[in-house]
Amino acid sequence: MMKKQSIVSIDNLSKQEILSLLEDAAWFEQHPNHKILDGKVIATLFFEPSTRTRLSFETAVNRLGGRIIGFSDPAATSTSKGETLKDTIKMVSNYVDLIVMRHYLEGAAQYATEVTDVPIINAGDGAHQHPSQTMLDLYSIYKTQGRLDDITVTMVGDLKYGRTVHSLLQALSHFRVKFNFVACDELRMPREFITFCKENHIDFTESTDFSEEVINNSDIIYMTRVQRERFADLAEYDRVKDLYTLHNAMLDGSRENVRILHPLPRVNEINVDVDDNPKAYYFQQAKNGLFARQAMICKCLGINPKQNN
């Protein structure tokens, strides 16, 4: 049996571990109902509601034959009566083999790993980390491009506050990837990540213009929401809000293999006329989350899916 482990942040995973999770995800895509979690009980503790993420994790467990306990609304638990996070985690640890948790406080999952021996999967801690989102993004790129090396990834929209792009950038830094960062000045990639790219000899460009040239030289276009509340100056928001919207016609000269990704939900940054283009991949991307999460759950439980046929 493999070692049990928690996954709190994408930084917890080495390149080798990421690759092996991607292989496992591909395997689960072929065997999504493999009853490998028979007899296991998994808690999904959602101190902050997130229906999308919870359904994906719970489907992943159910399809593998595990059982679920937990809550989706903290108002219904003793947390709302003032119970500490530590006490809730310790109590639940008595019952389960794995805890999947989402919390509104940053670092909550890390703290949980320090108060229990039961492995923890961080399903989002405030604006901090959300490693299963990153794994499903990686799996989507891997699956559509057949590799993670020698590709060009263009990130568009809110590169300042968007944690998904920061985590994806860190995860892809293990591989030979070229980045284009496309954002308005107010939402450009933070300096610490630009420094990170330079220190790690990662090839990148930065521009405010979502140009034909950038689009036509991309293998992955990763779109993100540009939210009104991020702007100190609303006139600036009105000026830029439509500059980073993808329309189908903009893809006319794009590469055959290019795929459009988006962490969803979208607002208006991808026009609906893109949806029927075979290069649109955001709906399948969400489905890939199921397989990526199945792989992560098994890794945390110390189960090698292919050895338990």
Partner: protein
């Protein structure tokens, strides 16, 4: 020797003299060492002339030798500090403070969304840079340096 002159100000027979503390960090250093409730003679001087720092603070504690883990706490806010151990009026050892790799329960994370501000738990920071001293919260990963470092 310059040291002798300084130490002669209030000759210490046995104990510890902490020198070269930046003036603005002096009272923080006093707090970090828990000297407010100390039973033995404690002499504190501040805004003394210093070639290196402009002005400096100095702390003398009679009849006490600190555990390194305790004295090194002040490296968080006074990385220039030097610790002299005095025995029978003579300096028997002189060492710069050194910052540990991890700072536990001494510094406060001021990110209002950090779990360490809400749960009854110890704070924990990793030292990610020593020059200037930069601490990263082990929970939310916010980084703090200079005056942004707040003691608990």
């Amino acid at each position: 020797m310059a040291d002798k002159k300084e130490l002669a100000v209030s000759a210490l027979r046995y104990g510890t003299v902490i020198d070269h503390i930046p003036s603005r960090s002096l009272f923080k250093a006093v707090r970090l060492l828990g000297l407010e409730d100390f039973p033995t003679a404690v002499t504190v001087g501040n805004n003394l002339p210093s070639e290196r720092l402009g002005t400096k603070g100095i702390i003398k504690v009679a009849d006490t030798i600190f555990d390194p883990a305790v004295i090194n706490r002040i490296a968080i806010i006074a990385p220039t500090a030097v610790v002299n151990v005095i025995d029978d009026y003579a300096v028997v050892s002189k060492e710069a403070v050194s910052l540990p790799d991890e700072i536990i329960d001494l510094v406060r994370c001021t990110n209002p969304k950090c779990v360490s501000c809400h749960e009854p738990m110890r704070s924990r920071f990793r030292v990610v840079s020593r020059e200037p001293v930069t601490l990263r919260c082990c929970y939310c990963e916010h980084e703090y340096s200079g005056d942004k470092i707040e003691l608990k």
